[in-house]
Symmetry: C2
C-alpha cells in the first residue's frame, strides 16, 4: 500500500483522447485527515459525459483542470476511517475518479448494502445511468400506452434501461445499435420488441419497417445518422429527450455540409415536436421515487442489465475510446480493485 | 357584379412563387345555394404559412390543390343571404381565400361588430396572428417576470404582439428586424425595450449588447442567421417556441454546409433547452381566454399594432413575395374591396 495509481488529464484532447491526454501515473498514497475516510476503488464507471469534462468548452458542469485526476463515479471500500460513521470494510458509492485510492470527506458518500443488489449496479442500472433513463422518460418522454419508442445506443448503460421501462409502461420499444451481436442482445437478452443495426446498408428501411405506426418518442443518445433516419418517421407531437450526442463528442468544429439544421427545424415546426435537453442532476428530487420504482424491477428480474467490465485502471483509456466508438457492450466499468462481495 | 376575380394555384413553386404559380383569373360569380351566403371580400390576410400550402410536401395541413383558389383568412361582407342567421350588410371573419367573392355555408363564419374593434383586427392582432403570439407564449414560452425575450421578425404580425405581451408579463422584450426603419418602429411605436437590425454588420455584437442577462425565451419566426446569433446567448433552461421559419420557406433542398445541426443539438443538451414547434389551431380551446386577455389591451391602447395594407387583389402576389423577403411592415393585408366601416 505504498503508492496510489491515478489517471490525470495531462492535456485537453482535440478529437479522440488518448494516453497523451490521459496519463497514468503513480502518486503518494493519500492520507485521510481527521473526519475523512480512505477509499479503495473497486469499480470506476466510464460514461460518455466524461468527454465533455476533458474539454474547456462551456457546458453544464465545470471542466476537469489540466493536471487533475479525471473525475468519475466509483464503487469503493473503506480501508481506513477517521469518521465515526464509517468503518473499514464498509462499501460506498463515491465520486473519486480515475484512481485506485482517495481520501475524502464522507459527507457525499452513499452506503451500499450488497444484499440489496450487486454493488456494481450503484453506478449502473440503479445509479446515474438508470436514473437518467427513468427521469428522462417520466419528465420528458412522457410515454403513453401503445406508443412507439426508438432508443439509440440501445445496448448501452442508459439505452438498455430506457427500452425496458418503455415496455413496462406499455410501449413498443425499438432499439438501434451497432452490429448484429448487439442487436441480438437487445432483443433476446433485454427483450426489446425490435432492434435495428445502424451499420446495415438498409438501416433506414429496416428502421421504418420496425416502426409501422411511426415514432412517438425518440431517445437521443447519439445524433448523426441515427437521428436523421428517425426524423421522417416521427409522428405529430413526438418528443425527443436529448440525453447525449455521442456521435459528435469528438468533433472539433461544424462538420461538412449540407446543412441539415433547417430540415430539422421544419420537422419540429410542422409536426409540433418537443426537443428537450436534460441532465439527470437537475431532477435529484426524483431519485427516491426512481429507486422505489426500479429497484424492485431489477430484483425481480423484470428489468435486465448487462455490465461490460474491463480489468485494471491501466486499461481505462482504451476502454473509454471504445465507449466513444461504440465498442462497449452494456454498462462500461473498470474493475480497479478486488470486489470483496464476489 | 358580373364576374368574380380570384387567384388560383396554377403550379407548385420551387423557390419563390410568382405569377406563373399564382394566377389571377376571372370566373363566374358564385351563386349561393339554399342555406348559404354570398360573401364579398374586404380584406385578405397574407401570412407566411401560405407558402407551405403551395407545396406538396407533407405538413400539418393539406396542400392547396393545383387549380384551386389559394386559401386564406378574410374579412367579408354578406351581400346575399339564403340563411336565416345572416343578412346582407353583416360583417364576418371567413376563410374564403384569394378571391373577391365566395358562396359558403355560414357555419364557419364569425360575426364581427365594428364597434368592438376595427374589422381588420379580426385577421390581425385579435385574429390568428395575435392568438398565435398569445398561445405560443403562455403554452410554450412560459415567461417569468424579469426574463429576456428575443423576438425575431419583431415588426411582423405575430412578432409585434409577442414582444408587447412579454412586456405586459414583466419581461424585457428585444426585437430583431430588418433595417433601421423597422427597428425604430419596433422600439418607438411598439415600445420594445430594444430592437436589433439583422442586416447590420455588427448584428451579433448588437444582439449580445441588447441582452446583458442572456436570453430566456427565443421566439423563432425565421431560423437562419438570427437563430445562429441567439444560440450562444441562451441561458440554461431557455425555451424556443418555433412558430415559423421564414428564412427557409423557399429552400428547395438542404443548404450548403457546414452542417450546423450538431452544434444546435449541443446547445440543446448542455443548456437543457426546450425547443417546441406549435400551430395555433392545436390550442383552439384557449381562444376565449385569449380574446378576454388581449381585446381589452388593444381597446385601451396598451397593446399597439400596425397593419400594412396593399390595395387590390392584383397586387397580392407581389405583396406575398415581399412578405417572404421581409418587405412588409406590420400585419400584411390586401384590401380586395371597399371597407364599409371606414
Amino acid at each position: 500500500m505504498a503508492e496510489n495509481q491515478r489517471i490525470v488529464l495531462a492535456a485537453r484532447p482535440q478529437g479522440m483522447p488518448d494516453e497523451s491526454h490521459l496519463k497514468l501515473e503513480s502518486a503518494p498514497m493519500p492520507e485521510p485527515a481527521d473526519g475523512q475516510v480512505l477509499l479503495r476503488t473497486i469499480y470506476l464507471s466510464l460514461d460518455p459525459y466524461m468527454r465533455g469534462r476533458m474539454s474547456a468548452a462551456k457546458s453544464y458542469a465545470q471542466s476537469v483542470e489540466v493536471g487533475s485526476v479525471m473525475e468519475g463515479g466509483t464503487v469503493c471500500e473503506v480501508v481506513e476511517s477517521h469518521s465515526p460513521d464509517w468503518q473499514a470494510g464498509d462499501l460506498a458509492l463515491a465520486h473519486t475518479g480515475w484512481q485506485a485510492y482517495a481520501a475524502v470527506n464522507p459527507k457525499g458518500l452513499k452506503r451500499l448494502n450488497p444484499d440489496d443488489a450487486p454493488i456494481s449496479t450503484a453506478v449502473g442500472v440503479l445509479g446515474m445511468p438508470g436514473f437518467t433513463a427513468y427521469v428522462g422518460m417520466v419528465e420528458h418522454g412522457r410515454p403513453q400506452k401503445g406508443e412507439t419508442v426508438v432508443v439509440s445506443a440501445a445496448s448501452g448503460a442508459v439505452g438498455q434501461v430506457v427500452g425496458q421501462l418503455a415496455q413496462h409502461w406499455g410501449c413498443r420499444a425499438v432499439g438501434v445499435a451497432g452490429g448484429p451481436d448487439k442487436c441480438r442482445f437487445v432483443t433476446e437478452s433485454m427483450g426489446f420488441d425490435a432492434c435495428v443495426d445502424h451499420r446495415s446498408p438498409t438501416f433506414e428501411q429496416d428502421l421504418a419497417a420496425a416502426c409501422p405506426n411511426g415514432v412517438d418518442i425518440y431517445w437521443e443518445n447519439v445524433g448523426g445518422k441515427v437521428q436523421a433516419a428517425v426524423l421522417p418517421l416521427l409522428n405529430e407531437f413526438a418528443r425527443i429527450p436529448v440525453c447525449g450526442l455521442i456521435a459528435h463528442y469528438n468533433e472539433t468544429g461544424a462538420p461538412d455540409g449540407p446543412d441539415k439544421l433547417s430540415g430539422f427545424m421544419r420537422h419540429i415546426l410542422t409536426k409540433r415536436l418537443t426537443v428537450r435537453g436534460f441532465i439527470q442532476f437537475d431532477h435529484a428530487d426524483r431519485r427516491g421515487e426512481f429507486f422505489k420504482t426500479v429497484a424492485p424491477l431489477v430484483k425481480s428480474g423484470e428489468l435486465k442489465y448487462r455490465n461490460d467490465v474491463v480489468q485494471g485502471l491501466e486499461n481505462a483509456v482504451s476502454a473509454f475510446q471504445g465507449l466513444l466508438t461504440g465498442k462497449n457492450f452494456g454498462k462500461l466499468l473498470v474493475q480497479v480493485g478486488d470486489d470483496p462481495t464476489q
